[in-house]
Every structure is written in structure tokens, then in C-alpha cells.
């Protein structure tokens, strides 16, 4: 399968400490990849390197065959890399639909339009509606985000990324802080995403995350120590060592 995302020898240091120590990653089109590992393994830093929030000290990243590790987060987003944040990053004062329209506009040249009211741009409005349908938030479109429940905000966080029809979606702990019911709602959303979108997810909650994953990479101390299909990784003795200690 052709790779949508390829990383080779990625390194990131903060001061003296090496957070990501030579990671290589191959994500195929439409793949469902889970990255797990204990706290401090460097998962979020890796995600930030892939999204462009951080730039690597060494190594290269290719997205759809194009070298991107020096491109800004905004440029990568326009190429088709979408992401969510572990800490909610929403426009709290706006309504649900306004949030998603702003997101949809980010992928369109009309984001620079200084004249047309931003809710009158049909293309963005349609993309926003479609994204809200995918995360099952259409009935709440007119609600102010500040008045939404936490689980709804989590799904909105995902809708912002989906509104741009990304080719690759990076999910940073999408289940963090959710109740059991809310977790299953978010899982439903993720399981029903279009098959052609490749997804890389970082998650602590193994129960729900394993239902999603087809392939898993296990990280420890800035490296990938086990990688393979779901059953291979679960069966690998090294996985247990990482999670339970020797």
C-alpha cells in the first residue's frame, strides 16, 4: 500500500533531554494506527512533529510523497493533515456551527474574503454541516460552545478537523476525561469516519483504543519498541514489559 505519511529518523530534543530519539513511521492510506506508551514516552511530541507544531532536530517527514518537515503547521493543514488537541482548543464564545465554518474556511481561499459575511459562504457552510453530521452534532448547531457538555466539545474538536476533509487525521487522546457513555459515542464517530482517511491516534484508554486500531506502535523513552498488527503487538512480550515493568 502506498504511504500517506512517512517519517524517517525523527529526533527532537528539549535542552539536554531527548524526547523523540530516532523514530521512523510508515502510515498507509486509510490506515488506522494507534500509538501507545507510558507517560513521558514522547507520543504527543511525535504528534506535534507530524502536524508541524514543532520542527524536528533531525530526520524527515513525507506527506503524500512530499517532503514537509520544514513546512509550517498551516501549510501542512492545507495539504491535508488534520489534527485534534488533547486540551480542548475551541472558539468558546461562538456557536457550534460557527466553529466548524471557521474550520472549513481554513482550507479555502475565501478565508481572506473581507466583505462577504462569513456565514454566507455556501461552500464552507456545506462542509461544516457535513462535518457536524459525521460527529452527530447537527441538532446542536446553533448552541454556544461554552454551553455544551464536555463530551460534545470533544466531538466538536473532531468536527473542526473533519470540516477540512483531511487525508490524514491525527487524534491526540480523543477520549481524555470522558465518561463511559461519552467514550462510546466518540468511538462510534471514529469508527464511522470515511475509510479513505488515514488516522493516527494517541491514547491511554486501551479498552476503547483497541477497538479502533488495526496497527499499533508502542513507544517508550522516545523510541518505537514494538510495532505490528493489533494481535502481534498484544501478543508481544515486550508490550507487557513496557506497560507492567519486568
Amino acid at each position: 500500500m502506498t504511504a500517506i505519511l512517512e517519517a524517517k529518523g525523527l529526533e527532537k530534543r528539549f535542552g539536554g533531554s531527548v524526547i523523540v530519539a530516532g523514530i521512523s513511521l510508515h502510515v498507509a492510506e486509510g490506515e488506522r494506527r494507534l500509538i501507545i506508551g507510558p507517560n513521558g514516552a514522547g507520543k504527543t511530541t511525535l504528534l506535534n512533529l507530524l502536524s508541524g507544531d514543532l520542527s524536528p532536530d533531525a530526520g524527515g517527514i513525507w506527506f503524500a510523497g512530499r517532503r514537509v518537515e520544514r513546512l509550517s503547521a498551516a501549510r501542512r493543514a492545507r495539504l491535508g493533515v488534520g489534527r485534534t488537541f488533547q486540551v480542548l482548543t475551541l472558539f468558546e464564545g461562538n456557536t457550534v456551527i460557527e466553529n466548524v465554518v471557521i474550520a472549513a474556511l481554513g482550507a479555502q481561499a475565501r478565508r481572506w474574503d473581507p466583505f462577504t459575511p462569513f456565514r454566507k459562504i455556501g461552500q464552507a457552510e456545506r462542509a461544516a454541516m457535513e462535518a457536524l453530521r459525521m460527529v452527530d452534532l447537527l441538532p446542536l448547531a446553533a448552541k454556544r460552545v461554552a454551553d455544551c457538555a464536555y463530551g460534545q466539545k470533544r466531538r466538536l474538536e473532531m468536527a473542526l478537523a473533519l470540516a477540512q476533509a483531511p487525508k490524514l487525521l491525527l487524534l491526540d487522546e480523543p477520549f481524555a476525561g470522558l465518561s463511559a457513555t461519552e467514550r462510546s459515542q466518540v468511538l462510534d464517530v471514529i469508527l464511522n469516519l470515511p475509510g479513505e482517511v488515514a488516522i493516527v491516534m494517541i491514547e491511554h484508554d486501551m479498552d476503547v483504543a483497541l477497538k479502533f486500531a488495526r496497527n499499533i506502535s508502542v513507544m517508550q523513552a522516545g523510541r518505537i519498541v514494538v510495532e505490528g498488527s493489533k494481535s502481534e503487538v498484544i501478543a508481544a512480550p515486550r508490550t507487557r514489559e513496557v506497560y507492567l515493568g519486568r
Binding site: 498551516a74 493543514a77 472558539f91 482550507a107 478565508r111 474574503d113 473581507p114
Partner: protein, 320 residues
């Protein structure tokens, strides 16, 4: 918006026809172009979240440009066009540096630019006349209207102000306006969505410096005099005060702030011996009792009155 324009025009006509003398017309003229000035600063401070201490730079540069050119044989309209171009170009150049940062650093950078501009106006005596400033500025003629006549100049400024307000209000509601606010609230998310946060902030800065230049050019032709005081820190904070008192980020708050502050500074001298101290007290009063500003306070007051009137009617019927 159409309703706003109609009310605005009625007020302008009433002032133009009803003013007993040029004193009130001059005052109303200043209200008109200070409206442009304060709205443009609100675009930065309120919408983009960029607290600028140097907005008077563009106001002053445009004023000096008009003053110098018209006193050196250049026609009034050409001078105004050149002033707008110069103010906007300097806005683009300084903004490109300043909007790389936000928060306190942005404030200090804009303050630095403002001090440099003020220093130039003060020391570059050959061009600016130094402390004496430039005098003897004449207003141009617009078709058949001699703008030297204060009533004509007032209507001209009021129309320019209405145009500027309509354009800025339209921008506020547009896609670019929405992204200016969004970049203020969640810059990192905006990058992840494909927006170039620096470019968005720069566009707000350039538009704001353009409209500050418009106000500066109109000020120069109103006062027929320009001095370094135009660009002083005191003047920069005065506009900021108008925005804060009127209501930061409220739609027409800055206009209300202009009316309140200019009326206060113009007429408080007759009643108190220390007008500036009184202005400080006014600010304190607003911050304590109308924390969102005068305009939002008025809005809630009006809504409350409407509601109580609405309720009074059916209750009166039921009591019978």
C-alpha cells in the same frame, strides 16, 4: 446597518443645520473623525487582541504628510492620497515586525515605534518644524463645496466617517473578520486549520493603520496645524481610553467612547479645575460600574426597559 446609516445621517443633518456657531461644528467634526480613529484602534485591540500603544503613529504621519505637502505647493487631494498611502505603507512595514509577537511584547514594540516617530517629529526640524509644528494649512475644494467653510467640512468628515464605519463593520462580519477574532482566541488551533496567523494579524494591523491615517489627514485639515503632540503617547492613550470606555470589541462601542470622552474633555473645563483628573475618575467609574464599557451597558439597559414595557401590558390586562 441601513437603520444605523439613516439615524446617523439625520443626526448629521440636525447638527449641520442646528449649530449656532462654528465652535459646535468644529467639535462635531472632531467627533466624526475620532470615530474612525477609535474604530480602527478597536479593530486591533478588540478584534485582533493586539494592545497597541503606537496607533497615534499613523494618525500623526498622515497629518504631517498632508501638512508638509499642502504647504509645499501640492494640491489638497493629492496630499491626502499620499498621506493615506504613506501611513498604510508604514503600517505594513512596522506591522510586519510587530505582529510576530503578541501580548506585552507587542505593546512594547508599538510603543517603541511610536516614540521613534514622535522623536523624528520633534527633532527633524527642517521638515516638521520641530516643536513649532507646521501651520498655514489650507483645505481643498470638493467640486462646488469650499471645505474652508466649517459646515461643509463637517458634512464631508461625517460622510467619510460613515463610509469608514460601514467598511469596518462589514469587515468585522466577514470571513477575514471572523478569522481575526479566532486568531486572537486560539492562535494554535488556527495554524492547525491552515490559517497563517501572522498574515491575519498583519492584515488587521494594515487596515487599522489605513483608517488611522484617514483620521489623521482629516485632523490636520480641521486643526490647520500639526505638532509632535499629535503623535505623543498621551494622544495614543487617549484613543485607547475612548475604546475602553465605549466598550472593547463591542460593535459601535468605540463611537460611544469618542462621544463620551470628547464631550467630557471639551466641556468639563468649565466645571472642574483639573479636567484630566476628572477624566481619570470617569475611567474609574466606568471600569467599576460598567466593566464591559458604556455601549454594552446601554444595550442591556435598553433591552431591560423594552422587556419591562412588554410585560407591563399583558399584566395590566390580566389585572382587570
Amino acid at each position: 446597518m441601513i437603520r444605523f446609516a439613516i439615524v446617523y445621517m439625520i443626526v448629521v443633518a440636525a447638527v449641520a443645520l442646528g449649530s449656532p456657531n462654528d465652535f459646535y461644528l468644529s467639535f462635531a467634526t472632531r467627533v466624526a473623525y475620532y470615530g474612525i480613529y477609535a474604530m480602527s484602534l478597536n479593530l486591533l485591540v478588540g478584534e485582533a487582541g493586539l494592545m497597541s500603544l503606537g496607533h497615534s503613529t499613523f494618525f500623526g504621519i498622515a497629518a504631517y504628510c498632508v501638512a508638509w505637502l499642502t504647504t509645499h505647493g501640492v494640491g489638497g487631494w493629492t496630499a491626502i492620497a499620499a498621506a493615506l498611502a504613506l501611513g498604510t505603507a508604514i503600517g505594513l512595514a512596522t506591522g510586519a515586525v510587530a505582529v510576530r509577537v503578541a501580548g506585552a511584547s507587542f505593546m512594547m514594540i508599538t510603543l517603541a515605534f511610536a516614540q521613534v516617530a514622535w522623536g523624528l517629529a520633534y527633532r527633524w526640524v527642517g521638515v516638521t518644524g520641530g516643536d513649532n509644528g507646521i501651520t498655514g494649512i489650507a483645505r481643498p475644494t470638493l467640486i462646488a463645496f469650499d471645505l474652508e467653510k466649517q459646515s461643509h467640512y463637517f458634512v464631508f468628515c461625517a460622510l467619510a466617517s460613515l463610509g469608514a464605519i460601514l467598511v469596518m463593520d462589514r469587515l468585522r462580519a466577514s470571513a477575514l473578520g471572523a478569522s481575526i477574532r479566532a486568531a486572537r482566541d486560539q492562535p494554535r488551533r488556527m495554524s492547525a486549520l491552515g490559517y497563517h496567523v501572522w498574515a491575519i494579524r498583519l492584515s488587521a494591523f494594515v487596515v487599522a493603520s489605513f483608517f488611522a491615517s484617514v483620521a489623521g489627514a482629516l485632523d490636520c485639515l480641521q486643526q490647520k496645524f500639526v505638532s509632535p503632540a499629535t503623535m505623543s503617547l498621551l494622544d495614543a492613550t487617549m484613543v485607547l481610553l475612548m475604546v475602553v470606555i465605549g466598550g472593547i470589541s463591542s460593535r459601535f462601542g468605540p463611537l460611544v467612547g469618542v462621544i463620551v470622552v470628547l464631550t467630557f474633555t471639551e466641556f468639563s473645563g468649565q466645571f472642574v479645575s483639573r479636567p484630566r483628573a476628572a477624566l481619570g475618575a470617569l475611567l474609574l467609574f466606568v471600569v467599576l460600574f460598567m466593566p464591559a464599557g458604556v455601549a454594552p451597558w446601554l444595550e442591556t439597559l435598553l433591552v431591560g426597559i423594552k422587556r419591562s414595557l412588554w410585560r407591563a401590558r399583558p399584566n395590566a390586562g390580566a389585572a382587570r
